[in-house]
């Protein structure tokens, strides 16, 4: 009796289900000839296949979906625009995009023939060209007070400050430096209109800190004579979020890195992280972590512990040697390097995961930097190269 009832009930339910159609063909267990088990097997097969695909893509593709949001490998993008007409290899770039909302974003570029171009990023044309440093190569530029001022360092061993407000293009001041090397200066704002400038000093291994409007040397940092560090190659002046004392990171010719406390004129820490001269470094004060590149194939990241000791964290071996410049994006998510092998590489900043190799330039890339656009999706990356072009990229911008 029970069996009979059960059977008729099951029939009714089945008929109902078929008529109303809530069950799709892919639904297993209900429909004839499709048991739960077969579904499970199918599922497993699908998983396996997707895993395999992922593995294949993972090794082949340079851009992974971590930022883009899809797991398909897409070819590396082309530049958004290429700025031409610098007339010489581009040594340094600096963005100025976030100071005024309705102003055009601009990009400063300094090239080897002593010209500083001011590029309008709306029209992608040079608004103005400044002749500087007696046609000697421009090494480094930075803005002062928004876009109204500019500071530039040239191979003529001088730092010039410029007045650019209201369309002027006048050199206000020229500060002679003691070094004729390639080391770029580093600038830090201390207060309104008040800056500290770190520059290579007169004798080898020495670094001089200037107070900017006054042009007076504040501190001279000399490492112990027996250290044999060689020339300073790159400088990074920064202020830790907790303390008020400014700190300075210096990369030396012998591949070692030092951290200085300025006010005490003391070397806090020393780390030999490369075997070749350090070409570039950038530092993220939030994570107390930095990155440095040298003329060898190695890219190393190091951290700063609570005792202000530098510690090597991670190293990454690249295919080709030589990193001319490196820059961490403002949001601390990605990092770009400018390679002597004509390539720009993008890494995830957290784990130094390689994300993309951008290939456009036909000569070694000298500098790379990220823009400071307020809206993240507008952010650009610019790279200047020996082939006299500046490439603008829009990478990993989608939120």
């Amino acid at each position: 009796m029970d069996k009979f009832l059960e059977g008729s009930l099951k029939d009714r339910i089945y008929v109902h289900l078929e008529r109303q159609g809530p069950i799709r063909d892919s639904q297993h267990g209900f429909v004839h000839e499709k048991s739960c088990l077969s579904n499970l097997i199918n599922f497993l097969k699908r998983r396996q296949r997707s895993q395999m695909v992922k593995k294949v893509l993972g090794t082949r593709a340079f851009i992974r979906g971590d930022f883009c949001g899809n797991s398909m490998a897409i070819p590396p993008p082309d530049p958004k625009f290429v700025l031409r007409g610098t007339g010489a290899s581009v040594n340094t770039l600096h963005f100025c995009c976030s100071d005024q909302e309705d102003w055009n974003p601009i990009l400063f570029s300094g090239s080897a023939n002593g010209q500083i171009h001011i590029w309008n990023l709306k029209t992608h044309r040079a608004d103005k060209v400044l002749e500087s440093h007696n046609k000697q190569s421009v090494l480094w530029i930075h803005t002062l007070q928004g876009r109204n001022g500019l500071i530039s360092q040239g191979r003529d061993a001088a730092v010039s400050t410029w007045d650019l407000s209201e369309g002027r293009t006048a050199v206000i001041d020229s500060i002679p430096l003691d070094s004729y090397g390639f080391c770029q200066c580093s600038l830090m704002q201390e207060g309104v209109g008040h800056y500290l400038l770190a520059s290579p000093g007169s004798t080898s291994s020495e670094v001089k800190i200037l107070d900017l409007p006054k042009k007076t040397p504040v501190w001279v940092l000399k490492p112990p004579a027996d250290a044999k560090l060689g020339m300073p190659m790159c400088l990074k002046l920064w202020q830790p979020p907790s303390g008020s004392r400014p700190l300075l990171l210096v990369g030396y010719e012998n591949g070692s890195l030092t951290l200085w406390d300025l006010s005490e004129k003391k070397m806090l820490s020393h780390l030999a992280c490369h075997n070749e001269p350090i070409m570039c470094l950038d530092f993220d004060p939030e994570r107390a972590k930095g990155i440095s590149g040298s003329s060898e194939k190695l890219l190393s990241s190091w951290g700063l512990d609570n005792q202000q000791n530098l510690k090597l964290q991670n190293t990454l071996t690249l295919v080709n040697a030589g990193i001319a410049d490196t820059c961490i994006r403002q949001d601390k998510k990605i990092l770009a390097t400018a390679g002597w092998d004509h390539r720009i590489r993008i890494f995830g900043w957290k784990k130094l995961k390689p994300l993309a190799v951008l290939q456009y330039h036909i000569a070694s890339v000298h500098c790379v930097t990220f823009s400071d656009h307020v809206v993240p999706s507008e952010r650009l990356m610019a790279a200047g190269s020996k082939d006299q072009r500046i490439s603008l990229w829009s990478v990993y911008n989608k939120p």
């Binding site: 082309d78 290429v82 031409r84 007409g85 992608h124 036909i362």
Partner: protein, 1083 residues
Amino acid sequence: MAIFHTPKEAFSALRPICVKITKEQNVINVQCLQSQLQKVGDAALQELQEYVLFPLRFSLRTPGLKQERFVQSVVECIHFIISRTCVQNQQQLCEIFSEVSLCLSSPGNHGKLAIISEELKMAVVQGLIALLHSAYGDILLCLYQPHMLPTQGFVISLLLDIAEHEKSRQLRVLALKCLLLLILQCDCPDTHCSFDSSDLLQVGDAFASFLPGIALGMSRIISGDIKQGHLVTIYAIKVWYKLVGLVMANDQVSKNHHDKKMLFVEDSKLADLVICRKPEWVKDTANKLDVLLQKLCSCATGNPHWKVRLELVELVYHLLSYCNKSLKQSIGHLLEILVGLVGDERPEVHTRCGQVLRNVSELCMICENKDFTDVLSENLHTLTTALPRLMRTLDDQSKLKSLGLLLGYLKLLGPKVNVILNSTVHLGRLSKALMQILELDVTDVRIVEERRLNSEADDLQHPMSFLSGWDHLRLGNKPTMKRKYFKHFTEECVFALLQQTCRVLGYYGNLYLLVDHFIHLYQESVLYRKQAAIVINEVLLGAAGLDVDVLHERETPVSVDDLKATVTSIIEEYISRANWDLVTSIESEHEAGLNTNQPKFLGFTKGSHSGCLHTSQSLTVHTMNSNIWQICIQLEGIGYFAQMLNKEFRQLLMTSLYPVIEKVGAETLLISQTATRTLTDLCQACGYDSLQKLINLNSDYLVNTISLNLRRLTQYPHTPRVISVMFSYSDASLLPLVDDVVQDVLLSLDHYHNEKAHLIFNVLHSLMTALAHWFPPKEPAQKEERPHNKACNSATKAEEIQCFFKDYQKQKRLAEGDVEDIDLDQTEYEISDHLEPDITFDHPDVKKELPAHIQIAKDVMEKCIHLLSDKSIKLRLKVLDVLELCVVVLQSNVNELLPMVHRVWSPFVQRLTNDDPLVVLRAFQVLCRLADTCGDFLKSRVSKNILPKVIGYLVSQAPVSAKAGPIYSHTLVYKLQLAELQGLGKLCEKLDLGETDLDMVANTCLPYLSSRQPPKLQDAACSVFYHLNEVDPDATWLILNEVYCPSTYDLPHFSLPPIHLTGMGKQRNEFTDNVLQLLQEFE
């Protein structure tokens, strides 16, 4: 004639005749009175008015039958008196009014018109008119007292009768005028006493009773026979609307005055006649009037006389301005008439109509009249619903009318159009209607077939003419736009109307809403894409206020920033690859086929636009035609946008210039023309003087895209087109940027060595063509050679011999080392001048930097060396083309050219000797070009490597061609033969070949002088001998004479041995003709 000024004199003069009339009533007496009256002054007559009128009135009043002529003269006399005086007494007015009007009625039946002569009727009506005019001040109003209603009714019915049934036009018009006068709306030039609104109210009340009768009567007249004359119809219309306007006027109907009015009515009989204009009555009447209105309007709109239509406009205006509340249900109809008449062919009508429309729309704006908008939007809705059907079924004229209606509604709505656009239903209907109407006719095959004449392919032989093909474009001539063909209409003016409609929409409507909606349609289906693009283009033009004709200004024009933002996104949509890179020809399909290397990309486009498949299966002529039109419409749009934004558009050039230029280079004629138009538009809008300037100043944008696209040539196979167009419009000032691109091109050649080399060589070809054009070669140096030899040739015999000996002596002395200084200096100077113009020897260590174009040509030639021996014939041919151009560019710089030629030589010889005939042919042409420039340098090479081959070929082919039939001239072998023969002579001359070689050439060519050879080959062979004659005339002469010698030579002196030439005394043979001709010409 004496005039009596004082009443006394007048009285004494008039008295006898007045008495006489009372006694004896006949025509003569009355006429006598009238003639007497003429002598009386106006003032006197006024005094005596009552007295004079009395006998006349008396005679009318006396019972009994009267003669018509008598009555007529009496009425005329009364008319005369009254028209000169004014009636001051109410009673008198009423009495005369009724007395005169009584003359019209038949004695038996008062309501009926008497059967009397037209003259009498005329006199009576004129009398009435005069009477109404002469009423003094507001005493006229007494006629509208309730107690006068019967009389009024009586008069009106008589007048209606006359107006309707009389034969005489004049009489009918008079009757209608009289009616107008009765409702105080006379249109005669005399001044009338103006009445205030309460007086008018009284008149209105009185006439409310007669409204049905008059309105009906007038309608009948209006809808009557057209032959009645336009004046009658016009007056009937006038009476109709003046009356309706009076009785149904908003302010009269709305007032609460009915109770008060009732008090005046004492008599119950009269009370029946009086009509109280209560709301119910108004509604009822309005309904009935609506029916009449529709009837009369349908009659009047079709009236052939424009004045009638003009009057109709007045009717609409009058009713809309005075009765828009009471006649609510007719508003729609009235507007329809008005809007319909905007498109009238008479300028008077449509200008007036435009004025009225403007006033009306202002009226509706000021009053914030909601009904008005409602009515309009409802009308619009029904119209848009019906439009697609109308478009399919009606003829063009009616289509024009209904579209005119649509435009009129939109114009009337003005800024309120947004109310409609905000409703999804409305917008949907409107857009669907537009989509259907604007459907293009894509069946024309010619559009797909027509090709741009100077596409690169045909002009390989003539590199220079390729460039000259662009010259007409450089001048900035705007090719005229080809008109579009639509499925549902053919007349151009229909399209113009639709354009206006879209522009008005854009002018008033919410731009973002509209653009968003139509872009959505654009993306939705390929069926709508073209129409939607047309609409978007026009809407934006309207939004910018260009070429738009509206009734009143909008309050807030769209800001430039908004426009720019919209335009930017639209352009982005237009030039997105799915909408821009469409298949437009079968040839381009194989190019598109290259795209299959990127399956992902194609798959993506297919997925999102399932409507437009690019695959070959679904590719029909219609699809291609449709694609072509789509591109053209989009191009047109970009041109429009530029016009809207003017210089602001310069920023958008960054994205839009490249695609436009790409289309300028398109193969399809229509696209290329449209793109050129657009380019001119861009040029004008952005304020550049010429296309050249436009391209030169924006070449950085172009170069940027080009260089990026070159990296992905498979995806962007049209990049070479852009480059060649850019080059052809531009000039040498572009060179620094070009240099950059060329590096990219050459680099990409290394990357795509096999697959893409062909495409890249297209680029190089256009590049070198441009360079050859920008740096035209100087006159080749070889020209100046051997001037004195030439001089000798032309001299007479004795001098010739003298000259020869002198020359010989000089040569011998030179050979012996006896060199004169001056001579040497000269030659050295010349050499350095020719060969090294650029190089100065300041820094022997530093290599002087070459001019950019020379460097480029060198680089390109370098690539040619490697690819000359490529597997593909096509590529080899292309490489040879480029090689030739390189030689042209380099010919001014021999120091660079010669080493390159040296390097090219060995693969080049392979092309000439062991290759497909097609390639050999081309290579031989290149060789001729090389010979032009390099001259001596190639002498030994040619004679060693090439000449034997060429000669061997010619020798072996000579018997074949001699025996060949007519088809032979189409074979490749023949063409090669021809080319070689044509080139050989020049080659010999340029290279200054040695005697043995010349001899060989001459012997080879001799068989071709045979008359059995194809004529062209004979000509070519002759040309070889001409050239040989230039190099060595004596030997040539001898050779020819050995074949056939026409004359014998007498010896000048017996001591000389007799001359014997093998050709002497020969019979006429196959060679005779050509040899004779040649010998003749040499002399």
